[in-house]
């Protein structure tokens, strides 16, 4: 079934044992592939691999699976649910042709939507490997993925934000303080989502109640999520907790996901449970997934694939469950997978492109850790590029500093910068709320009011705050 690939360059013969090796060697350089031992041995070998990959027919990816069908439920998902009719439009193309086709005016927003279910993650990964950053931006920008729960995410010229009010001890007032800060800076339309410091059902329920009560009291057209394990959320639902979105970190191989403690059946069960609560008002996308290059290698479950191909395969898992949001947490994993700003930026653009092409509401945690060779300027670059590419949402955190997870992501201020410089709005329902609450005087122009919004003044005079000041 598998064939080897050869290329003659002058007197030198390059040989690649199979499609997986060809894909890995064609991948733009990054430290995780070096760590896995699958990286190209030279720049020339990489360029040759890209030339050869461009000649591979898209059909090959349906016949030659990179992780065996028998061993992996994600491969089975990809193959069994492949939409042959959608694929027929591009079935005659090679990977190289596919890049050209994606760049043409023929591949309009409408056409890309129709073809999406015919594209497999491996096809998306392959074509991304021979695309430059500007190609990834241009094509992603043509893709439109709209999802909804209590507001609408992904409309043209919109950039939503996840308000991420984490606190190292899950202190409710600490979390509420960051929530208030975010709301008053116009953040939180994608979701108000907390990474709990203590990860169990009791704690998750507490945090769900806190967010639910705030959303109800201030009538915020948004949704909440506690980023706890899917089985915890299922238990919360059974206990009657107010669950808007079900969260799970997902990877691109069955083995990765079993190391995360779940499989497709559990996700299906959780999705049904969340749907049964019927808490959405304008839509019923109830899942929130996070991904990131390197997770399969980190779980020793990458089957010899490069990390970007594994990542794209995770999107097959995501699209099975009609998520409201998919977030690639691109710089969180550390420099052993993405070494510096250049690698993080490239990976962020790849993930966003592949996700969008496969029909996902793709957002990005534009982020870095302190041991990566990256800084705020790299994040400014990636944020601006992703905003241009039509990224569905980014994170929002006070002053870029996550004091619980110890990494830096985009701030509330950063999102306002992107909205202004690129002319992007928040979700329309949320924009209307921002103006109604007098947080913004003109939400379309990201203009904040100069006074304390009256609806929130009371909470600053609450007994808890006054008591603290004696």
């Amino acid at each position: 079934m598998s064939q080897s690939y050869r290329y003659q360059l002058g007197s030198k013969t390059y040989q690649f044992a199979d499609l997986a090796e060809l894909m890995a060697k064609a991948t733009p350089a990054r430290s995780g592939d070096r760590l896995a031992g699958v990286i190209a041995e030279s720049a020339e070998q990489r360029a040759v691999a890209q030339l050869l990959l461009a000649e591979v027919p898209l059909k090959t990816f349906l016949n030659e699976t990179l992780v065996p069908y028998e061993d992996d439920e994600i491969t089975r998902l990809i193959i069994d649910e492949h939409d042959a009719e959608a694929f027929s439009v591009i079935s005659h193309l090679t990977v190289g042709d596919f890049r050209n086709w994606l760049l043409t005016d023929t591949a309009s927003t409408e056409v890309l939507k129709q073809v999406s279910a015919g594209i497999t993650p491996e096809m998306a990964a392959a074509v991304s490997k021979i695309m430059r950053n500007q190609d990834l931006i241009l094509v992603a920008q043509k893709c439109r993925v709209i999802t909804a729960f209590r507001n609408t995410i992904g409309l043209p010229k919109r950039l939503s934000t996840r308000l991420q009010p984490n606190h190292p001890t899950d202190d409710v007032n600490g979390i509420a303080a960051s929530m208030l800060d975010g709301l008053l800076y116009g953040s939180g339309d994608a979701v108000i989502g907390i990474n709990p410091a203590t990860d169990n059902v009791t704690q998750a329920t507490r945090l769900m109640n806190l967010m639910d009560e705030v959303i109800s009291l201030y009538e915020i057209p948004t949704q909440s999520c506690v980023l706890t394990h899917v089985t915890n959320t299922l238990e919360c639902i059974e206990n009657g907790a107010p669950v808007d979105l079900v969260f799970q970190s997902i990877g691109g191989t069955e083995k990765t996901n079993s190391s995360f403690g779940f499989n497709l059946a559990i996700l299906a069960e959780a999705q049904q449970a969340a749907l049964s609560l019927n808490r959405g008002t304008v839509g019923q996308n109830v899942m929130y997934f996070e991904t990131g290059q390197g997770s399969s290698l980190s779980a020793n479950a990458h089957h010899g694939l490069d990390q970007q191909t594994c990542e794209a395969r995770a999107y097959a898992v995501a699209r099975k469950f009609d998520p409201l949001l998919v977030n690639t947490v691109v710089g969180f994993i550390g420099p052993e997978y993405l070494f510096d700003g250049k690698e993080i930026i490239r990976a962020g653009l790849e993930d966003h492109f592949c996700g969008k092409l496969l029909g996902l509401p793709m957002g990005c945690d534009v982020c870095y850790t302190n041991h990566a060779e990256a800084d705020q300027n790299d994040m400014d670059n990636l944020l601006t590029l992703l905003g241009t590419a039509g990224c569905s949402f980014v994170m929002g955190i006070p002053g870029s500093d996550d004091i619980m997870l110890n990494y830096q992501t985009t701030s509330f201020h950063d999102a306002l910068y992107a909205r202004r410089v690129l002319g992007l709005g928040a979700a329309p329902e949320f924009e209307a709320w921002l103006e109604k609450m007098q947080i913004m005087s003109n939400a379309g122009l990201a203009q904040l009011t100069n006074h304390l919004p009256p609806a929130f003044a009371g909470s600053l005079n609450s007994s808890a705050v006054r008591h603290f000041h004696g």
């Binding site: 070096r34 001890t169 929530m179 208030l180 806190l210 550390g334 070494f339 004091i403 202004r420």
Partner: protein, 299 residues
């Protein structure tokens, strides 16, 4: 984080009031170390807050790239040990992982988990048939700053507690590892024949905590053990978990490990459950809003 009273420059920002919109909810920093209520110039971070962030990042970066000063540390530990001649008389040993430098270390976690050949050989004379009760391993990890600031006072707090708490307590020679990761402690513990290893390692520096020390305890250490066999105590530093508390937690973990003859998920640190219970009753100020419904709902 830089406290308000320590701000870098004060007088140069007198014109501030005209250009920077301040946030009255900055007072909520009472509740959190998060950078809330930063204010804004236009919609952007004001100059001072922007530069304070840069300072914090610079400190975290320096913590990652500062070299572990093994010679000074060796001298300090030698001096410290002289107060406890009953548990060890061996001088601290300096070892190196297979990661030759920081750039390699950051990209090859597998190298950081293994001793280089020379270090491995150098441990042989210290192997004993009667196992040591504990091996203390100190590694730079991702913050040599954490080691420089916390290791000596922490060990000073730890040793008397262990001597009191464990009968005829014996300590293997203390080892100092350059470019080391957590798992290298298991190699060392095995090579020395220690019943347990306690790894003291610089944690990944956060923007507000460049000096955080992590402690990892493994019972019956062996090469190739995974994280679920370890118990972790995190955030040991002056502004975090105190040395005394951390030392008591170590004694608790070690005693439990000796009793159960294992470590990791089988041992539960009961002290954390109490913390959770006490905070479960709180409600947030954001829900204690005294304005009437009409006010809350806007117009």
């Amino acid at each position: 984080m830089v406290e308000d009273k320590d701000v870098l420059i004060t007088d140069q920002y007198k014109a501030d009031e005209d250009m920077v919109t301040h946030n009255p909810w900055r007072q909520l920093r009472q509740f959190t170390a998060a950078r809330i209520g930063l204010g804004r110039a236009g919609v952007s971070t004001p100059t001072r807050e922007s530069l304070e962030f840069q300072l914090a990042h610079a400190q975290a970066r320096d913590a990652v790239h500062t070299e572990l000063d093994v010679e000074t540390l060796q001298q300090q530990l030698l001096q410290l040990q002289q107060d406890f001649p009953q548990i060890t008389t061996q001088p601290p040993l300096i070892l190196h992982s297979r990661a030759i430098d920081r750039v390699t270390y950051l990209q090859r976690p597998d190298y950081g988990r293994q001793l280089d050949e020379e270090s491995f050989t150098s441990l042989k004379p210290y192997y004993t048939k009667t196992p040591y009760d504990l091996a203390l391993v100190i590694a730079d990890g991702l913050s040599a700053t954490a080691i420089h600031q916390n290791v000596v006072p922490f060990i000073s707090a730890l040793l008397p507690i262990l001597i009191d708490g464990i009968e005829d307590f014996t300590l293997a020679p203390i080892t100092l590892v350059q470019q080391g990761r957590v798992a290298i402690g298991d190699d060392i513990g095995e090579a020395l024949n220690a019943k347990a290893v306690l790894m003291l390692i610089g944690e990944r520096p956060g923007l507000s905590s460049p000096d955080s020390l992590g402690l990892y305890m493994t019972w019956s250490p062996k090469r190739g053990l995974t994280d679920d066999k370890r118990n972790c105590i995190s955030n040991v530093r002056q502004a975090g978990l105190s040395y005394a508390t951390a030392a008591h937690k170590c004694l608790y973990l070690l005693s439990e490990a000796r009793r159960l003859q294992c470590s990791g998920v089988a041992i539960k640190d009961r002290s954390t459950e109490k913390v959770l219970d006490s905070s479960a009753v709180q409600t947030s100020f954001l829900l204690d809003n005294k304005v009437d419904r009409k006010g809350v709902n806007g117009k």
